[in-house]
């Protein structure tokens, strides 16, 4: 489980990495090796982003407070 978590990038990270990759690909001083490895990285990231977006489900939790003032979370509804 822990392993999976370290590998999981946030959507924001992946998305902004994609923007960076595109920027680098566009620049003239990108070697062929770099181009290919960036392209491969980009493909993996696009797949990840697509998966994240297509499988996302909005989660709603409710914060409640005990009489002692302790905060807790429960599922909404």
């Amino acid at each position: 489980m822990a392993k999976k978590e370290t590998r999981q990038k946030s959507f924001e990270e992946s998305y902004s990495r994609l923007e960076k990759i595109l920027e680098k690909l566009e620049s003239d001083d990108c070697s062929l090796e770099d181009t290919i490895s960036l392209y491969e990285e980009g493909l993996t990231l696009t797949k990840y982003c697509y998966d994240k977006l297509n499988n996302a489900e909005l989660r709603i939790k409710e914060i409640n407070k005990s009489l002692k003032g302790e905060l807790g979370i429960k599922d909404y509804k």
Binding site: F11, E12, L32, L43, L53, A56, L58, K61, I63
Partner: protein, 414 residues
């Protein structure tokens, strides 16, 4: 006309009771305008006691705690108000008062003035400065939504977030958004949300409430709330009221949304746009890679075709051409020489043939030879010598005449 009848004598109690009946029956429902003075809150009961006056007259007023609990603001001396209530008489004291059920500032002028005053004060303190505004994260993961658990606001907010950005986690902090307790409960929620940081990282706090009158929105014009919002470390979006409604909360928050639904749109990227831009990314990156490799291929071809790379090949073919030329030259000149030599040999042969003595013999010439003594040439052998002149032979000398066909011996007779 009541002759003979004794005047009716009333006790004070009777009188006051009569007055009470008379007054209370006739003033069961009164709207009254006036200025507050002598305002007091009873420390134990929580009832409000004050005097309502105008320039020429005054009346005592009371507002029971059960009524004043729902009040949106705390009245103060000097405030012009309109109240709704009934007149009650205290027979024990022979006094009367107005029992207030509803209390509103007169017109909205008063509230508006207070609002403007607070706004100006906080503005001067720099609490609305752009420099203090925190930027909202582009892709929020966890947000705290401070709003009422009932009503359309929450429902609409969730609906929009679900549609636009389902990656979001919403932590609902239910609060009371109306009445005197509202601002305190929102302040508490904000403080808790900051503490809540211990669990997930909260990216944005949204304070939301539907539209309402200036009175309804009073809790959001609370100075204490404004200061808590200002000092909060998490970006706050204020979505209070409807389009035209502005509250202090809106000004001090990091971002103001015209409505709660608009807030949901503001804080979330649209999943459709995201998918579209990822589509674009795949398309562009592929075409970049393709054009890059194509360009490299082209320049490789160019290098291959360049002069320097083709020089050895060119040199070889140049040499080949030279050799071809030379061999052509060699065969050409040698052949020419040979044939010209051949023809001159032929010519010589012909000339020789023409001038050969043997040929002349055929024309009728003859060669005369005579034998020469060896003494004459001091040689030991005989030698035939061609006689070229008549004086070369004497009488009776033997000679040999050669004709073209044969030789004959002859003797000179003269």
């Amino acid at each position: 006309m009541i002759q003979g009848n004794l005047p009716q004598i009333l006790t004070v109690s009777e009188l006051n009771f009569n007055i009470k009946t008379l007054v209370e029956e006739n003033f069961r429902f009164v709207h009254l305008i006036g200025e507050i003075s002598n305002f007091k809150v009873h420390s134990q009961s929580g009832h409000y006691y004050f005097t309502l006056k105008d320039s020429g007259s005054q009346i005592s007023a009371v507002m029971w705690r059960t009524r004043n609990e729902n009040l949106l603001f705390t009245p103060e001396d000097g405030m012009q108000i309109v109240v709704k209530g009934r007149i009650t008489v205290f027979p024990a004291k022979g006094s009367y008062q107005i029992e207030v059920w509803e209390l509103k500032p007169q017109g909205m002028g008063e509230l508006q003035a207070r609002f403007e005053k607070l706004k100006q004060k906080l503005f001067e303190e720099g609490m609305f400065d752009e420099a203090h505004k925190m930027e909202l994260p582009k892709f929020p993961e966890n947000i705290v939504l401070i709003t009422s658990k009932t009503g359309a606001v929450l429902h609409d907010f969730i609906k929009i977030c679900k549609r636009r950005y389902p990656l979001l986690n919403i932590y609902l902090y239910p609060v009371n958004v109306q009445g005197v307790s509202a601002s305190s409960s929102i302040i508490e929620a904000l403080r808790d949300a900051e503490k809540f940081q211990k669990f997930p990282v909260i990216d944005i706090i949204v304070i939301a409430r539907g539209g309402g009158s200036l009175e309804d929105l009073l809790p959001f014009n609370d100075e204490r709330l404004a200061r808590v919002i200002f000092s909060c470390k998490i970006p706050i979006v204020s979505a209070v009221g409807h389009e035209v409604d502005f509250t202090i909360c809106d000004f001090v928050a990091d971002m103001r949304a015209p409505t709660p639904s608009a807030a949901a749109e503001l804080i979330t990227p649209n999943i459709k746009d995201l998918i579209e831009s990822i589509d674009k990314f795949s398309y562009f990156s592929r075409s970049f890679v393709q054009s890059k490799t194509e360009n490299l291929r082209n320049s490789l071809r160019e290098v291959q075709g360049s002069y320097y790379f083709n020089r050895p090949k060119d040199l070889i073919s140049e040499f080949n051409m030279r050799i071809d030329e030379l061999s052509k030259g060699i065969t050409g000149t040698a052949g020419g020489r040979i044939s010209s030599l051949k023809s001159s040999v032929k010519f010589f042969k012909q000339t020789l043939h023409h001038i050969s003595p043997r040929n002349n013999l055929k024309k009728g010439y003859a060669i005369v030879r005579k034998k020469v003594d060896m003494d004459e040439l001091r040689l030991l052998f005989e030698f035939e010598k061609i006689v070229t002149r008549a004086s070369g032979v004497g009488k009776n000398e033997e000679v040999e005449i050669e004709f073209h066909d044969n030789k004959k011996q002859a003797k000179i007779t003269s």
